[in-house]
């Protein structure tokens, strides 16, 4: 069950973050933020090999279930947002309905 989905800029600020249920939003913000520690580690561990492989999936932060497909879907949707000529790279993702719907579907589907 996906309870919180976030897209993080490479400077580590959230481009998009949404969680369900919404009343625990702050907790998820903290959680996503601290999880960046592991993301950082993974990125630096994969290093150059990652760039060459074009494999953007870092794997799991913790070995539970594998959500590769889900992340690929999220990344594809993010790419579409980036391709929007009216979107400034680095802005928070606020006005993309398609991206929002995709996140919603992901949260429901996995539940």
């Amino acid at each position: 069950m996906a309870v919180c989905i976030a897209v993080i800029a490479k400077e580590n600020y959230p481009l998009y973050i949404r969680s369900t249920p919404t009343e625990n939003e702050l907790k998820f913000h903290y959680m996503v933020h601290t999880s960046l520690d592991v993301v950082d580690e993974k990125i630096s561990a994969m290093g150059k090999a990652l760039v060459d492989q074009r494999e953007l999936y870092l794997g799991l932060l913790y070995p539970t279930k594998d959500y590769k497909v889900m992340f690929r879907k999220l990344h594809n949707s993010y790419t579409v947002v980036m391709c929007n000529p009216f979107y400034n790279s680095g802005d928070r993702i606020q006005s993309s309905r398609a991206f929002d719907n995709m996140v919603t579907s992901m949260m429901i589907q996995v539940c």
Binding site: E11, Y13, H29, H33, Y62, T64
Partner: protein
């Protein structure tokens, strides 16, 4: 061990603990008997067999039996290991492929098992047995939390699961510590720190549950809960019961007292933070630190909490996480309040009051905190709490009035700013102050009114970019480059000096990154003390945009830069330390000035012309009675018009008034009373001036066409033909603001150019005057007169001009002709004055009568002395001249008068009462129609008596057929050599020439008096050597010789037989 996974996932290194147990059929698990914690089996068959025969005999059978047993128990994981002896292998090399034991086994057993893909995998297991750390990754909080929430489906008392998880974590950690050395543990913190963190978290929640974190300690309910939990733990397991330290003992101790809990919790927290920090997981470390801060706050130790909160907040700010920022700030505010850090607390409060992530109520609360503090009377009345303005209100834009931000000394400048209040409620501000820096610019040119009004033409609105507060500082979030083209022009002629591209926001791009992290620190703001302040008192800032207007009266000239913006609420001062982009206004002072300039490109003499007077008052105030005193220039009139008015403008060109101009003229002085005007205004008015045409100045320039001026050059003529003659008039003006006179020079151009010519018809004489209009205007000419200034009664000038009114258009000419008549002997020279009235053709009736245009000239030697007549006759017996055949040219020179004054010169000789003079004739054909055969010139002695004639006969040959003009016959006075006289002709003119000369420098004036044309003179004394004394030639003035045959033509018919005549031209 490497775990190759299906579906394209990356292989993983995992740790597997294994036991080697001898194969027994009883040990194999039965169908359906699968326990949760059963270890899987991998069946391995080891053999040292290396001989094919032995294999076939025994090993193969044994293997088959083993396989069948496995199959019967549906066990599919097996491995056959063949141990090969290297020595043996060497000795007995298998030449044939696929005949080794391995191949045979593979053939016999593996083919049937083709679905197994991971067969070679396990042969590497030994190498990876050294990686115990991989397994601990599975003991991470998430898996544990799954157990704790979805594990055993029984109801447990609150905290029991926490206890169980805490114990599990610590036991795992203890086991790891038990089997590894320190260095190994240290190098694998990344794998264990999660457990430490999880254990810390669980202990914390247990502490909160059991009332161990509250200030007063646990109450009875808390104690009951603790007892239940401890009871639920049961007895310690026997294997650890005897050790001094065990997770069980630790938990029991921690829950037993407030102090013990604190010690254990702090130990765990610090250890976790340290571990996180050591492996670079800063965010996690900060997060644990925040929990710790919460704990300290509960324990009423805000001084210890602060550092953790600040640390976490700094991290969130740097990475731009809005919700954690707001949350941590709230905690920090509470902490700062407890610590009594007033400034910090107010600063945090202002940030929270403007934070949209908080509820309206919360925002109002924090805003009220500030207002409450601000309204408190302070112990130290002069003390100010200085806070950054950013969170309180933002400066959005600024507008100057006048919009060019330039004002004269004493002028009023308005600055309107838009402040966007971030507060949730209206805030009363005692005063808003702009701190202004004053500088006197060295470049005084910049301070002139012209420059300032010309160069600042913006709309006067300066916008300030809104700063996005919670945004991380990184390369990407830097503002875009603001690049602008830059042109620097020379102030004098506006020519381009330099050009380039400048970056306007370089200070934003190049500032140090750390500077933004001091957002929480109000200490960076310093209040500037300056002498120049703009102040606006008692303003209520409503939430959102507010307009605030500052008014100031400009005092000292210079440049004023707006530096700081401060808003005071009681003792709290919100300060915007730097106003950017730079905002400046200029104050200038100016000396009074008078400019006089023509309205048109150039002023024309003789007609009324408008001149614009501009009085720039500068710092001088024009009082009633102030006037300009113009000392009248000679020959320039200032025309007083009743209706002239003066306009008064402000320096920004807004018209303020107009007034009638009073002009009083006396003989010497014209006085213009100026209208009353305040300082820094402009008075403009127009006056008409008239430059009187002055006769001598004009006459001298005219071209004396009829006069003998042999050396006049063509170039000069052309030069004067295009530009107008000018006259300068200087006017000295006394201005009321100065004891010195201003001298103004006005240049007037004469619109006309006049030439005259003497025309003859036999002995009748005419004077022609040509008036050329050089100006762009059309004129009406009237009343032309030509008078003889010497007043000889004998002479009469009879006008042949029919019209009294004559228009003369721009760039065109008008000719006037008079006939000269006399009864007695005429004077040798005649002085004439031509005058013609003129007025601009387009204009209506002028108020004044204009002076006529005059032109004076002299005509000399105008009386005709000789008549020259030439005739060409066809050869005898022929009716017409033919080309190529010789014709006779008869020249008849007739003296028309008796001895006159003009004849009395060196050439005159007297014998027996008879006078004679020497003349030289010359026949020249410039058009090369004729070839003069034989001598083309000769000297004759001419009796000075009326009707004396001389006949010359010559032979000429026509070169072309058609009506040919006759060749020119020229007459010169032949003066004997006289040493006292310098020859008018230089030696070069005496060039021997054959008579067939073709004059290439042909003079285009048939009646030219010029002797400059080369090669036109053939000397009668050609035998004389050069350098010897030679006679001189003097051209007869045009008026003295009349060529009666000029213009006549002779018909030449072509000869029968065409032949080519070669003409060589040298």
């Amino acid at each position: 061990m490497e775990w190759r996974r299906s579906y394209g996932r990356a292989p993983k290194m995992i740790h597997l603990e294994s036991n080697f147990v001898q194969f027994k059929e009883e040990l194999l698990p039965k169908e359906g008997n699968k326990a949760l914690l059963t270890f899987p089996f991998l069946h391995i068959y080891w053999t040292e067999c290396c001989d094919t025969e032995v294999y076939k005999a025994t090993v193969k059978d044994d293997l088959t039996k083993w396989q069948n047993v496995l199959k019967a128990h549906s066990s599919v994981d097996w491995l056959i290991v063949i141990v090969e002896n290297d020595a043996k292998k060497k000795n007995k090399t298998n030449i044939l492929p696929r005949t080794s034991i391995v191949d045979k086994i593979r053939n016999d057993f593996c083919n049937k098992q083709s679905d197994r893909r991971s067969l070679p995998l396990f042969s590497r297991c030994c190498s990876s047995l050294r990686m115990p750390w991989c397994s601990t990754t599975s003991w991470t909080p998430s898996s544990l939390s799954m157990w704790s929430t979805s594990g055993p489906g029984v109801s447990v008392p609150p905290g029991a699961l926490d206890c169980w998880v805490f114990l599990s974590c610590l036991e795992v950690l203890q086991r790891i510590e038990g089997c590894c050395d320190r260095a190994q543990i240290d190098s694998n913190i990344a794998h264990t720190v999660g457990l430490w963190s999880y254990a810390t978290e669980k202990l914390k929640s247990l502490g909160y549950l059991c009332g161990l974190v509250s200030e007063k300690g646990p109450n009875s309910e808390d104690l009951n809960r603790t007892v239940d939990l401890l009871a639920g733990l049961g007895a310690e397991r026997p294997e650890t019961a005897n050790t001094a330290q065990s997770p069980y003992k630790k938990l029991k101790e921690a829950l037993s007292s407030v102090e013990a809990f604190e010690k254990h919790y702090l130990d765990l927290s610090h250890a976790t933070i340290e571990m996180y920090t050591s492996i670079g997981r800063i965010r996690s470390a900060k997060f644990v630190g925040k929990d710790l801060a919460e704990f300290y706050m509960r324990k009423k130790a805000p001084q210890k909490a602060e550092i953790y909160l600040q640390g976490a907040l700094k991290n969130y700010l740097a990475e731009g996480w809005a919700l954690p920022i707001t949350h941590t700030r709230k905690q920090l505010a509470e902490c700062q309040k407890h610590l009594g850090q007033i400034e910090n607390y107010l600063q945090t409060s202002s940030l929270l009051a403007s934070d949209h992530h908080l509820t309206e109520e919360e925002r109002k609360h924090f805003c009220q905190e500030i207002l409450d503090f601000a309204s408190q009377p302070l112990d130290n009345p002069g003390h100010k709490i200085v806070l950054p303005m950013q969170s309180f209100a933002q400066l959005r834009d600024l507008h100057f009035d006048p919009s060019n931000a330039v004002v004269h000394v004493g002028g009023v400048l308005c600055i309107e700013i838009t402040m966007y209040s971030q507060m949730p409620v209206p805030v009363h501000v005692e005063q808003i102050v702009v701190n202004v820096h004053f500088s006197i610019e060295k470049n005084s040119y910049r301070k002139t009114a012209e420059w300032l009004t010309k160069h600042k033409t913006s709309n006067g609105i300066i916008s300030f970019p809104p700063e996005t507060a919670p945004f991380p500082v990184s390369q990407n979030s830097l503002p875009a480059l603001e690049l602008y083209e830059m042109f620097e022009r020379s102030p004098s002629d506006n020519s381009l000096n330099t050009t380039g591209i400048i970056c306007r926001n370089v200070h934003m791009l190049l500032r140090r990154q750390e500077s933004s992290s001091s957002l929480e620190m109000p200490s960076g703001v310093a209040l500037e003390e300056g002498a120049h302040l703009l102040r606006c008192s008692h303003v209520t800032l409503e939430p959102g945009a507010n307009q605030i207007t500052f008014r100031t009266q400009a005092k000292e000239p210079g440049t004023y830069t707006l530096r700081q913006l401060c808003a005071s609420v009681g003792s709290v001062w919100f300060v915007l330390p730097h106003i950017y982009p730079i905002v400046q206004y200029d104050v200038y002072s100016q000396e009074p000035q008078l400019h006089v300039e023509p309205l048109a490109d150039s002023l024309l003499a003789g007609i009324p012309q408008k001149v614009k007077f501009t009085v720039t008052t500068g710092h001088y105030t024009i009082k009633n009675g102030d006037s300009l005193q113009l000392s009248n220039a000679e020959a320039m009139l200032i025309l007083c018009q009743a209706e002239s008015r003066a306009m008064v403008y402000s320096n920004t060109r807004e018209q303020s008034s107009d007034a009638a101009l009073r002009i009083q003229s006396s003989d010497k002085v014209t006085s213009i009373s100026l209208p009353v005007a305040p300082a820094y205004h402009v008075i403009e008015f127009e006056l008409e001036v008239l430059s009187l045409p002055s006769a001598p100045a004009l006459g001298g320039e005219s071209d004396m066409l009829g006069m003998a001026e042999p050396h006049r050059k063509h170039k000069d003529k052309q030069k004067t033909g295009h530009c107008m003659v000018t006259t300068d008039h200087k006017v000295s003006i006394d201005c009321p603001w100065s004891i010195y006179s201003t001298v103004i020079a006005l240049t007037f151009s004469v619109p006309f150019r006049t030439t005259h010519a003497l025309l003859s018809s036999g002995t009748r004489k005419y004077v022609q005057v040509c008036v050329q209009n050089l100006s762009e205007l059309d004129f009406q000419l009237s009343d032309s007169y030509l008078v003889d200034t010497s007043d000889s009664t004998d002479l009469q000038l009879v006008p042949l001009n029919t019209q009294s009114q004559q228009p003369i258009y721009s760039k065109q000419s008008v000719f006037f002709v008079w006939e000269l008549k006399w009864t007695e002997e005429p004077p040798p020279s005649l002085y004439c004055r031509f005058s013609v009235g003129f007025s601009p053709a387009s204009e209506e009736q002028l108020s004044i009568s204009l002076k006529p245009y005059t032109y004076e000239f002299k005509v000399e030697n105008f009386f005709t002395l000789y008549n020259v007549k030439a005739e060409i006759f066809p050869p005898s017996g022929m009716e017409y001249c033919r080309t190529g055949s010789l014709c006779s040219l008869e020249v008849l020179i007739t003296r028309l008068s008796d001895l006159l004054e003009v004849d009395k010169d060196e050439a005159l000789t007297e014998s027996d009462e008879h006078f004679s003079t020497k003349l030289m004739y010359e026949v020249v054909d410039n058009s090369s129609n004729w070839a003069v055969c034989g001598k083309s010139c000769g000297v004759i002695s001419m009796p000075v008596a009326a009707r004396a004639t001389h006949r010359v006969h010559m032979e000429v040959m026509p070169l072309f057929a058609g009506y040919l003009p006759l060749p020119d016959v020229r007459l010169f006075k032949y003066l004997p050599h006289h040493s006292a006289h310098s020859s008018q002709l230089d030696a070069d003119s005496w060039i021997e020439n054959d008579s067939l000369s073709v004059d290439k420098h042909g003079d285009d004036q048939p009646d030219s008096s010029s002797l400059k044309s080369r090669g036109s003179v053939h000397s009668a004394c050609s035998s004389e050597h050069k350098g010897l004394p030679m006679p001189r030639l003097q051209a007869l003035p045009a008026g003295q010789v009349f060529n009666s045959s000029s213009g006549t033509q002779v018909l030449v018919i072509p000869s029968q037989d065409d032949h080519v005549l070669e003409v060589s031209v040298t």
